[in-house]
Symmetry: C2
Subunit: 560 residues, 2 copies
């Protein structure tokens, strides 16, 4: 035992899980270990079988999650040389909504031989998109019956969320639905496996399962209207008892201590979501400062002092990110994916050759060329809807647009136009928040893009007119989970009593600061006005050409 205390954060991603062992006094990341899921994303056949999956299915194997604990925690202990005595707490965050059916003791149905060959017995990963019919019916019912909860979710419940996925199980595999004593977020399930205690965190309950602190779940009548068998779904398969972020779920069982090498009785934090746990890890525990997780997509989170209906956001949850605040979330479904698509499909051979001769990766080469352009110089403007629009239009059927091409248009100009389009998309989110009572004065960025694309960061500052700072953490979600682990331990045990205190001590920003350039802002204000006009024209029903093209495409392919 030493004076220094440590906590461990475990971040469950789409392809792998990662543990980070952190110095509780200052948030220093002492050791990291990653475990690639053996069965990864299951979207073709069930493991070790020829049983094919329908399109849009995306499953996972819960055993992979247990292996993350078994492999990575011993590894970070070993690497750091830290004694288990000095690990005061453990926290964990997960993708969401990622759900599974279990028996009453938490045993996943897919672990049972009689259910192993049924896809619905497995984990439905966040990007499982096969429950769209159920989502559509649920939304139609909520609208026609006049339920106001839709307002908390930008007017629409996503097919990715809890009840559509659960309902799909009832529709397509009633025997699985009947055999499931519990239906639970994987986030909560892994905490159950560590602590032996079934909890349901308020973050996923609020953002994914239509629960709110004020109103709880939708009433039985609503579920009955969907399907009589769902009338008592909450009491039969979920729980009305909700655990809050910052609380302790329980302590490590002897079995989990044996898996991990940690001490039995080590405090375990209530489960969290990868995006939301990043907020305090990015130093944000107050209103007015937006965290943007920038990667393949953008996730925008901001804390509000009061409850506000902001049209087109993904959701808001009281205490859903940080206790005492309304946690607001919005998103852009195509950011890094946009640039990856462009590089794969639109960059000519000569650019690859030039990049290679300069020893640059193609993204870096394009960035260098795009950075030499002035705002407005390309004459191009794009709508960043290659993967639909999550906020503020909440419409997956929207598609991309690029306007202003001439015979002199160069690839780096199109590339820059795509970057700018995502920045305009972020600005429209910020302005929508501010118009509805949720101020955004500053931005803190985290995720993969801020490291790799400095041009993008400056463009975001210029377009939004906000200063942007960058989280210093190498693994922001895992750090956030470790912070919640330290809060689960409490101050008396060498941790912290609140996530505010943990954030102040353990979360840091880099020195770099992106300051809006007033000349660029003036040009971008003009371009943004044009963006908004096209955004509204194509996105708000004036000309639904994108949807008509999409449905024509579907009908052409169907009849071929």
């Amino acid at each position: 035992m030493s004076d220094r205390k440590y906590s461990i954060g475990v971040d469950f991603g789409t392809e792998s899980g990662r543990a980070v062992l952190v110095d509780v006094s200052n948030g220093h990341e002492v050791a990291t270990a990653v475990y690639q899921y053996a069965n990864g994303v299951i979207d073709e056949n069930l493991p070790d079988t020829d049983i094919p999956l329908d399109p849009d299915f995306a499953l996972q194997d819960p055993n992979d999650y247990l292996d993350v604990f078994k492999k990575t925690i011993p590894a970070v202990l070993h690497e750091s040389g830290v004694s288990p005595e000095d690990v005061i707490g453990i926290g964990s965050d997960f993708t969401a909504c990622t759900v599974l059916p279990t028996k009453a003791d938490g045993t996943p149905l897919c672990f049972l031989p009689e259910f192993r060959n049924n896809p619905h017995a497995w984990v439905k990963l966040w990007k499982h998109h096969a429950a769209q019919p159920e989502a559509n019916q649920l939304n139609d019912a909520a609208k026609s019956l006049g339920y106001e909860f839709l307002d908390r979710y930008g007017g629409k419940i996503s097919s990715e969320w809890f009840f559509p996925k659960l309902w799909q199980t009832l529709d397509e595999a009633p025997e699985i639905y009947a055999a499931a004593d519990r239906y639970i977020e994987a986030a909560d399930w892994v905490i159950w496996m560590l602590s032996g205690v079934e909890t349901r965190n308020n973050c996923t309950a609020g953002y994914k399962a239509i629960w709110s602190k004020k109103d709880g779940y939708p009433p039985k009548e609503f579920f009955k209207a969907l399907n009589p068998q769902l009338e008592n779904v909450v009491d039969e398969k979920l729980s009305r008892q909700i655990a809050y972020l910052g609380d302790r779920a329980g302590t490590l069982t002897a079995e989990a201590a044996a898996w991990t090498g940690l001490k039995e009785g080590t405090p375990v934090a209530v489960a969290n979501v990868d995006a939301h746990v990043s907020v305090p890890a990015a130093t944000v525990v107050e209103s007015g400062r937006m965290v943007i997780i920038m990667g393949t997509s953008n996730c925008h989170m901001v804390l509000g002092d009061s409850e506000n209906i902001v049209p087109g956001m993904c959701g808001y949850v009281e205490d859903g990110i940080i206790p005492g605040f309304f946690g607001y979330e919005a998103g852009q479904s195509c950011v890094g994916d946009h640039f990856a698509w462009f590089v794969e499909n639109c960059v000519p051979q000569s650019y690859h050759q030039d990049a290679a001769s300069k020893g640059l990766d193609i993204h870096a080469y394009l960035e260098e060329k795009a950075a030499s352009l002035l705002p407005g110089e390309s004459g191009l403007l794009a709508l960043d809807w290659w993967n639909g629009n999550r906020s503020v239009l909440v419409d997956v059927d929207l598609t991309g647009l690029l306007i202003g091409q001439t015979l002199a248009t160069k690839p780096e100009e199109m590339y820059r136009a795509l970057i700018e389009a995502t920045a305009y998309g972020t600005r429209i989110i910020i302005e929508t928040f501010e118009q509805h009572g949720v101020p955004v004065n500053e931005i803190v960025a985290t995720g993969g893009l801020p490291d790799r694309n400095l041009l993008l960061m400056q463009i975001y500052a210029d377009v939004t007119g906000r200063e942007i700072r960058v989280s210093a953490a190498k693994q922001t979600p895992a750090l956030g989970s470790a912070m919640f682990g330290a809060v689960a331990a409490g101050k008396a045990a060498g941790g912290y009593d609140t996530i505010y205190a943990a954030s102040q001590a353990m979360a840091h920003l880099r020195d770099e600061l992106y300051i809006p350039n007033p000349e660029h802002q003036a040009v971008y204000d003009q371009l943004y006005a044009e963006y908004v006009r096209l955004h509204d024209y194509f996105g708000r029903g004036e000309n639904d050409v994108m949807k008509r093209l999409k449905s024509l495409k579907v009908s052409v392919l169907k009849s071929s």
Copy 2:
């Protein structure tokens, strides 16, 4: 001397001139020779000097034109073994509007040492774009003074045409203007050099110099309003005597006979324009059949029985293509150029590699992939305005648009969308003609694209709902000129008395026929409706975003 008679057509292009020796009985192209202009397109320095040219200047050296006669005609005689006795006529066509100042005897001012260093003494090529200020002033004056002649030209006189170019000379080089006894189309000048007779053909006079059979040139008051020195420009520098297509300009002089190896006294046809001379060479000498010259741009020509104002066309001229008809012309400024831009800027490395491994040129590879798609399958739609819109919007400030992209969008889908966009552009031209009394029942294609891109031809048939045939001539304009050479000779000399008779005997179509596919038509009708809606929204003033982006670009670059 033999029973077989021949005529020679000489086609003057942008980079070279070409002679074709043709069998008058059947149009068979017996021999061809090409001469690349020694001074090509002069757009940097005047030849053999350091004298720089302003941007947008594009000049030529008239000596290159004479060299075309001197090199190519002897070559085709030599290659064919045909006796000059058996060459009964010669015709020629030229780019237009391509103009030069000369002395009274036809000597170009740039041949005179005292003017050789002045750019305005040289030929201004059709794509010389430096007379835009004069074009703008001319259009403003015509509009404000209420001159109706603008209606004959889609509402606008182009900076490429005769009077803007002439006026620029007066503005910027008054000494050249003063020294010029004549200002003349290069088309007419080369005929002058062959025959010793100055003529002015009704085709360039009508399409480029605001002349009409009914009203002649604009009145003196109009020219005086532009600049008092221009009051008598027609009488001082041009001529009110107009020669008609199908007439004989004169006969070969002794000097020109010595250059060419032809017989002195060989009949020489009145000058023609490359596009217009292609119409009878593509078998079209009646109304209702549109000829489209498909290359870097598209030029659409159709004969009408009556005079109609068709909004947004390039112009119409009575007897301007074929005697007895109103010749209507429209155009699309970016067709082959579009595909070339795409291939240069947007096709990824892997496609080039795959094409190479299949032994295909990249256009052919893209065509193969694009051809495997169904209409509507890509979900994409484009506006074909990368180089502005010539017809029917007559607006050089419009730019491109591509809509409907997703993360699954492939290069061949974008490529096909560009092809389809040019087909929609052609359909809008056809429909505009038909709505204003000029029927288009069938299409005859000529130019470079029909040979190379069969997919494009089928798409044009499907989109326009018209059957398309292809001219059989290898060199359609040169064949047309040879046909007019045979008409200049007349039936008595072994030629023809009319261009109708010449066309019937000498012009042919290929066997291949592109027939609209009714299923494809049904899909394209829907896509075309979307195209028209976007065309009108962005092109007719509802949202001038393209122009605002363009002017922002200009102002950004200016202030940098």
